[in-house]
Point group: C3
């Protein structure tokens, strides 16, 4: 649970920061992460920069925000919970009647103890979010509304790390850093991605190059794609959006738009052999940056491996999605299932039997020399691997057919490769 505990500690450290799609909170978050990930670069894109159909917005800075009653009591205070202020709220300092204020308040009648998470990035307004319980306790009268914010030209920031491997082909890991104090649907993503970055960096060798980005959701992936699309299209063989990987209630899979990419296949194999059960979602249930990565014309092989998926659990996008909702166990599970998917990709060669017919394994010490009624499980698996290694399918597909875990099958495959019974070929190579 060491990794789980580390990740939960990082989440705890980052929880208080008020992140949005731009602003000092993002930079503070990236700065913290860059201490954990040597080599992480922090990039800036100026407000006004065009990115396909979008424009990088002005930067939002929030310093203070509260509602005061006539007695001077701060009844709602941004310092207590940064969800209290609508994201990208314009500045205000004004006394007003309750009726006027009420039009700017947001609460959830069906979740009376939760503060909702609301933003208004591209249309100027101000507002406060509070529990429905508190809202119902407010009396008519006059209130002072105070928001010390500004929205002005600045930059959009994102973090980027490229860990080179033997191949120029890349695995993309994309997570977001744009929500304020929330656990599963914010911090679980960056902290699990950070742990994966540390693990990948620590490996002596990697087949693939890893491109790991910490971006604001939607505008961040669109900006990133607008700058790097050609490269990504050429080199990305698989990618994962890393979000909602911190609670302990479920595992979830959301495929790429058309499904069946190498990323989808590695993810599903990881889940099938890594966890007891998982929820299978449709691309119609999408909601994060796969919306951009898998959009028509972009179509990168990107899917999502999650714990409880966004928009499916009651605490989603409220103050109840907090540090209690996620746990070291939950984060470790999210980390492990992604790590396993990556290992599957690293192990996934296309093996081809070198000899016609079954080889004589006995003379190599790989087969019992005395035939009895039963053969061992491992012998059977080895024969199955040899029987399907025809160079037309990769190890994931063989593993699915013969119902074995790729990460176990890889060891056998390499043993047979050392015995010069299998070789690695490019898929569908006719001959050699």
């Amino acid at each position: 649970m060491l990794t789980g505990n580390n990740m939960h500690k990082w989440a705890t450290d980052l929880f208080k920061i008020c992140r949005s799609i731009t602003g000092p909170g993002v930079r503070e978050t990236l700065s913290y992460l860059s201490k954990l990930i040597p080599g992480l670069t922090i990039n800036s894109v100026p407000s006004g920069t065009k990115a396909f159909d979008w424009t990088v917005p002005d930067e939002w800075t929030i310093r203070e925000a509260y509602i005061e009653d006539e007695s001077g009591n701060r009844i709602v205070d941004f310092n207590n919970n940064n969800l209290h202020v609508v994201g990208y709220s314009t500045p205000i300092d004004q006394w007003m009647e309750f009726e006027q204020l009420d039009a700017h308040l947001h609460s959830l009648p069906e979740q009376p103890n939760a503060i909702p998470y609301i933003t208004s990035y591209y249309s100027r307004r101000w507002g406060f979010c509070l529990t429905h319980e508190q809202r119902q306790s407010l009396k008519s009268g006059r209130y002072r509304v105070y928001i010390d914010s500004d929205i002005s030209p600045g930059v959009l920031n994102y973090g980027e790390l490229v860990i080179t491997g033997e191949s120029k082909e890349e695995i993309l890991l994309s997570t977001y850093i744009c929500h304020p104090s929330m656990g599963n649907n914010e911090l679980s993503g960056p902290v699990v991605t950070t742990a994966l970055a540390q693990w990948l960096t620590s490996l002596e060798q990697r087949k693939y190059t890893y491109r790991i980005i910490f971006i604001p959701e939607t505008i961040g992936s669109i900006v990133y794609l607008s700058k790097h699309f050609k490269h990504l299209k050429k080199y990305t063989v698989a990618g994962f959006v890393i979000t909602c990987v911190g609670d302990n209630r479920a595992y979830s899979f959301l495929p790429s738009r058309k499904g069946g990419t190498l990323a989808d296949r590695a993810a599903e194999h990881s889940l099938k052999y890594g966890v007891e059960s998982y929820d299978y979602y449709s691309y119609l249930d999408r909601g994060s940056d796969e919306r951009q990565y898998c959009s028509p014309g972009i179509d990168l092989p990107v899917c999502s491996l999650m714990r409880s998926k966004y928009a499916t659990y009651p605490e989603y996008h409220t103050s109840l999605d907090d540090l209690e909702l996620i746990s070291p166990e939950g984060l470790e599970g999210g980390y492990n299932i992604l790590k396993k998917a990556i290992e599957i990709l690293e192990f996934n060669n296309c093996y081809k039997a070198i000899l016609p017919c079954e080889p004589q394994l006995g003379k190599r010490g790989l087969y019992p020399t005395m035939s009895t009624v039963k053969t061992t499980e491992e012998t059977r698996t080895m024969m199955n691997l040899l029987a399907y290694a025809d160079g037309s399918i990769d190890l994931i597909e063989i593993a699915n057919i013969i119902d074995e875990d790729v990460t176990a099958l890889y060891t056998l495959a390499e043993k047979l490769k050392s015995a010069e019974l299998l070789k690695i070929v490019n898929k569908n190579d006719s001959d050699d």
Copy 2:
């Protein structure tokens, strides 16, 4: 129910006419329809004309037919019900013993109150059909058998209407006018087709050209194909055999031979989003002119959308399939499901997203500017449409994937086209 009432009135007017595959009854029927459908041409093909493996038969005229007992009572009379005489009966005027007559009588022991419908187009014989109840009441003795008919060189008639559209590509609507007094399995077809012809003519614009034919079943479609096959093969993108569209008990679908044509896809989408439930038949259950349109070497994209399918309901091919069996409601349902299938075809463009990534709908007023927990149904549908509009699949396929009715989705698609977010492309166009 206006259309339904109209259609039922036309059926009532046409009910008494004794139709067969040739003869005055067909001409009288076409003459009636041509008053409802301006532009309907009535065509004649002479007896003896070759059509693939077939020859247009001599024309059958029937004027009178009865069986008289020794007391001069007309116990079976063609004037009471034209099903009483076997179709294409040869003339006769002869006294005979009951035993001799009995060999020429047809009845249904299991449906004792129904007169069966029997024909003998290509082998000369005569016969009478009657209820089994009546047959069993007949006593031995002598009977006068009288049939005033003749079978001699003449013509085979069919009606044809071509309504031009923007495209030379055609939709084929084929119905038959060769059965005597029957409702669902005869008149429902021509009257629904007539109403569709009126509606199509009334449209200000049509994408497709419509070819609408009223033919005798089997020999008529074979003759029509033998004359127009090259044209039909080149231009027909979809077609429907219109039969059994008048009762109120079921909806039915019978696919083309291999299924999956544009016609099949439009028909199934129409049923899925147009009615509560429907019966799905196999091409093995075929029985009308799709037998010719879908035969090897012809293979036009033709399927059938029906109410209660021929050969599945007890009244089929008997006197019980009458004007009571069909109803204004039943006919209107048949009309609507075909109209919807045609609309689906008219609306079925292949849309392609113009911009990479999701467009910023908010700045176009197409998306709520404030993000909350839920998005509206329509916004979600619009995003789904954009997400799947990659130019490789048409609107029907997108609609099936995202579970929306094409006729509703089309409005959204055109809205996004106006906003320059979607364009229409030819399916599978790589780029433009």
Copy 3:
């Protein structure tokens, strides 16, 4: 049951012979079969011959083998059951303590009355097999172990028969003759194959050429492939491994590696229309010479049609798999299902309708001239055959679609061919 009785008699004659992968027992077996199959050649491949990854082993001759107790009682004697000696046991003549002997004894605690079948072809050892009941009755003390065998350079034998047909394309029938006294998992294969060879020889004409081989399992098919692979790859259109075809408890199908070959399709059709029910196995359950025929790089279209499959019934590879386990009825069932599969292959032409649209069957006497409510079953089948005979699919596929037995459908197809309504084409021929 004549064939069944013959086959069981042959099995009874062959039962006593001690077969192994080489040696006099194989030759004696082939010599017996060659009297039943004129033209069967007996081939010899010298020890030391290379075959892909394998080498033909030295030949094993066994003359006598027993265990004697101190009183001179032969408590285990090869003469009583040739399963008592481990296959390829080295010679020995030695007194030893029970503890030393015990390490060379094999029995089945869970089947205490069965002698197991054990071999050690490629690693030199000796051993005895006995029932667990007998083993437990053995007392400590001294025993004389006597095996009069030798393992020395010789030959590997196999039988081969080629029955020529109109085409150079071949059907491969492969069975093995390498197990000592066992019934279902040994003798059922050669005797059913012998009966099939007699039947095939007796036919006046055959579309295909038949290659029938009697080989030792594994090493025999590998040797045969190493000598004939190019020819087999070029000409083999379908093949069957014939094993376990003698008991009366089940029918079984084991597909080729990827399935869907002509052999698989004929076998499945034969089972579907030949027997009440059957067990469908996966290629993962393989265990006989399909392991070689379907291996990567070989990939011949070979599957298995069986009664109770090897390794699924309790008597498998023990003395309980005897002449009682198989029966004339069981063998006849195995013979019939293979015969039917072969007939399906012989009948399986690709028919194409000659005329566009439905032909007028009535004028040819093939259709009732009077239309009534019902058409006959045969007429319907004929129309279905014509409707699907588009030259793109073969008779097996049509039969599957219209749910008819190929062997019945063939008669109809030939009737329509005689009527010049169907012709035989090469699959997927565009036109002619």
